[in-house]
Symmetry: C2
Subunit: 576 residues, 2 copies
Amino acid sequence: MRRITWIMALALSIEASAQTVLDVTKFGAHAGDGSDTTPAVQEALARCRAQGHKKIIFPTGTYDFWPDRAAGEYVYASNNDAGLKRVAFPVKNLQNVEIDGQGSKFIFHGAVNPFVLERASNITIRNLTIDWKRPFHNEVRISAITGDGLDVEISEQFPYRIAKGLLFFVGENGESCGKRNRDPCPAGDMLEFDTQKRETAYMVRDFYYAPYIQATALGNGKVHIVEPGFKGTPGNTLVFGMTNRNHPAFTISDSASIRLENVTIHHCGGMGVVAQRTRDIELSAVKVTPSAGRIVSLPADATHFVNCSGRIVMRDCLFENQLDDATNIHGIYAQVTRRVSAVEIEVKLMHPQQRGIDFIAPGETIEFVHAPSLVTYSQARAKSVTRLNDEYTRVVMHTPLPQELRVGDAIAGASTYPEVLIRNCTIRGNRARGLLLGSRGKTVIEENTFHTPGAAILMEGDARYWFEQAGVRDLTIRKNTFDNCNFGVWGKATIEVGAGIEATERASSRYNRNIVIEDNLFRVFDRGRLVLAYSVDGITIHRNRIEPGSAYPPTNQQGPRFDITHSDRVKIEDQQ
Amino acid sequence: MRRITWIMALALSIEASAQTVLDVTKFGAHAGDGSDTTPAVQEALARCRAQGHKKIIFPTGTYDFWPDRAAGEYVYASNNDAGLKRVAFPVKNLQNVEIDGQGSKFIFHGAVNPFVLERASNITIRNLTIDWKRPFHNEVRISAITGDGLDVEISEQFPYRIAKGLLFFVGENGESCGKRNRDPCPAGDMLEFDTQKRETAYMVRDFYYAPYIQATALGNGKVHIVEPGFKGTPGNTLVFGMTNRNHPAFTISDSASIRLENVTIHHCGGMGVVAQRTRDIELSAVKVTPSAGRIVSLPADATHFVNCSGRIVMRDCLFENQLDDATNIHGIYAQVTRRVSAVEIEVKLMHPQQRGIDFIAPGETIEFVHAPSLVTYSQARAKSVTRLNDEYTRVVMHTPLPQELRVGDAIAGASTYPEVLIRNCTIRGNRARGLLLGSRGKTVIEENTFHTPGAAILMEGDARYWFEQAGVRDLTIRKNTFDNCNFGVWGKATIEVGAGIEATERASSRYNRNIVIEDNLFRVFDRGRLVLAYSVDGITIHRNRIEPGSAYPPTNQQGPRFDITHSDRVKIEDQQ
């Protein structure tokens, strides 16, 4: 030690200072007393920004967060609802920061977004649990089916009131949703869950009602709901979804090298993790799972990746009981609405929840796509990109527009696509599907367990409704267990192509390419399809095992197990 | 001409080019064919910005505007609802521009904001009419009062539907309001108008209902509304207000030298003109008046001025049949929520429609105000102003905070106040009041005609509910005709102080000062108060004429005509 010169000492001291750990309790945060942790977090993040600190820690405990003093940010989060948000952790323009909850529970209250990462890089968030005091969705227990509807019981977790013959749910403190206290909170669509199996009820459909729920109070938390068309099973749980996806747990935009480790999301008011235009993101032991007394975790997709690059890795994750898919990885198609000049087009973001997303940038390669077939017929480089508003954009190309270009065609970024690895994850009990795979980068799905009511793996993509760019180029699905999937209505096979290619175009389109399905175990309860695909160039199915059982009543499907049409290079070695 | 040298010719040519008139039809606008004028306007404004043009003209005709290709802007408009808007005329960072409609009619469709002026100076907008194809409010004709409610007739101007026993109004093309077509448009509060007199029905109250309108269809545009408490007169018009003030006709922020001349606003989805932090604004022959077949013009205040400076002039204007006051001129009080240090406080914008407004700026003089009395007990200069979000702001002063400062006190900007002149305007038939005067600059109200159901002139201001800074210092009200005002419930006198000073504080507070009321004509129908004031320092009432009549049934009021309490320097020369 004595030999360290003063210059070395100074260097070490600077290094140590840069690495100094910020303890949030030093900024006024108190665990366990219900006080607002938000101001302490703002202060700690400001220190990180100003003084180059690297780590924020939370001594193990329960921390509460309110929107009041959170940062105000207008947030566009693809496939969620944009708007002016209050952000508890605004991780913006920050590098090399670690946030360690040390096993703490973060309890959020009301209209607040936990984490928004924007233009951030090398960020690790670990060892914490996110939940809400009063969830954004609602659950009731069905006690009886009557002639004109049903009787339900509502637990204190989901406060409500009956007014003018209508059922309205209210907030944590009995407050209503509108700016005036008499405006009620709208409730979303109804879906029945099997309370015992903790999954969507066998073959149950979404029950879309409109516009409001007629109801009468029966006393003691019991309510009669008027819904003459409703069918359901007493004892099951009826879930009312959320009308807006305003508050994802993690919104990650224009960032790089993002890691979430050992993070549990019990609930949030949107998707669990939505990442867009971000390079290299890893989710390790991220768990989406309901907290005690609830059957639903979060009321949207567990994760969602849009126009990402580099690598997307999810390992050792649990995605259960959310009200939509486990993941969806895709780009964005914009519709061509006008040919402005020989080099300029006007395009429109068609899906309302894509509005405001910077889906292409100057310098990027753009693909021109025929919407009915999803065939890419040309490419060009964007010279300038000018947004008219969150919906319309004008794009000038470096080279003349292709002759074939027509209004109604689609364009999308085509410079880069992420590699994807999803390993040793468990996906179960949620509404709809498991993995929606749409990256053109190398994609490996291995050693996962699926128990989904719809397709476990779906290859989507269309330029007519969702406007999501997809089409795999190199997909391996191996060593997974597909445990009695398709016990619900959201899919026609366990592994399925659902791309929006018009029937008349399927013979010529080859939207998905180079798919290998090998060494998987399929547990089944009937003769339904395991793989359904069309318009594929290259699909190999071999060394898979099928294990029949009786987990559910069989459907009347009669296969074939592997149903591949309008495809080239099809290699099926397993028994049909 | 021959003597003009080439340099002079060049100079003249540059001058001429700078003054060149831009005709919108040269950019693709077509009058009368229902096409969207918005892209042509964007193009013309871009030319003004880039090439220094000075004038945009519209050849006389009818021009339509849709939101689709309008500019996207997040707009904070005080006392209206903030949000991401589509702006037809985004007059932003522009100087020395004239927009001349040449008598044209502008018809707007849906969720679009006609004019947003921001950091603009020397702008004149003249000779145009603003209307909406499908208004944001709704009107129905009462045909019968029944035991449990009323029967109404609804004209085709106000499309609606009945679903699940509820009445919902729908858009121009039958569309609903939510992102999904099954989400209905909420309807606002009900108010009854006298169809013959074209004004609010005698002594009628706002009918606030909650939360939705129960109704059954009777066929042929006839509907039965269930509202057991409702009282009204068959033949009268029942108006449903607007739930949000999203689309003012003119939003003017941080601008200077703004003139609106010969502009008619038949309708819009918010206030007619809202100006904030703007110096020198003149409204000349601006008319707020309903278009054919409607009884209501716009569903909010006709005009509203917040934290303005220089001069506010309104001359030869007509403000009739809007659903709120003719004008309101005031500042903003923010509530002190924390004393952060010896020189720093945290304050909160309390009224939801003030959120996001930059109510003070660094360098400005700040007044500290005792909320119950509205007494200013100290001043200081702001050194820095940091917004946490649209609600909370931190302010550091140049000097230590006053000793008396308590959480719950208010602060406001106190550097400058506008001079106000309102001359030869007509105000009638609207809901509520006429002029709400709160500027501390010299204010002259002369030669106007008022026929308002509430107070014609009101001096408001409070730091407990609306949080509006007011308190006149030099107000002259002369040569006006007050024509049978106070035939409704919104006021206790024709000229009234309504400042929110607690009763126990009125003896010591002198919030309004130096008021002269002279040479006015009051037409009256009973013995009601003409002037009601408290906490005034200096009020002179003389040379006014009172003309009794029987325009309405008398109320049981018995005066005094001039009721002044807790005031100094009171001079009443007219007969009580």
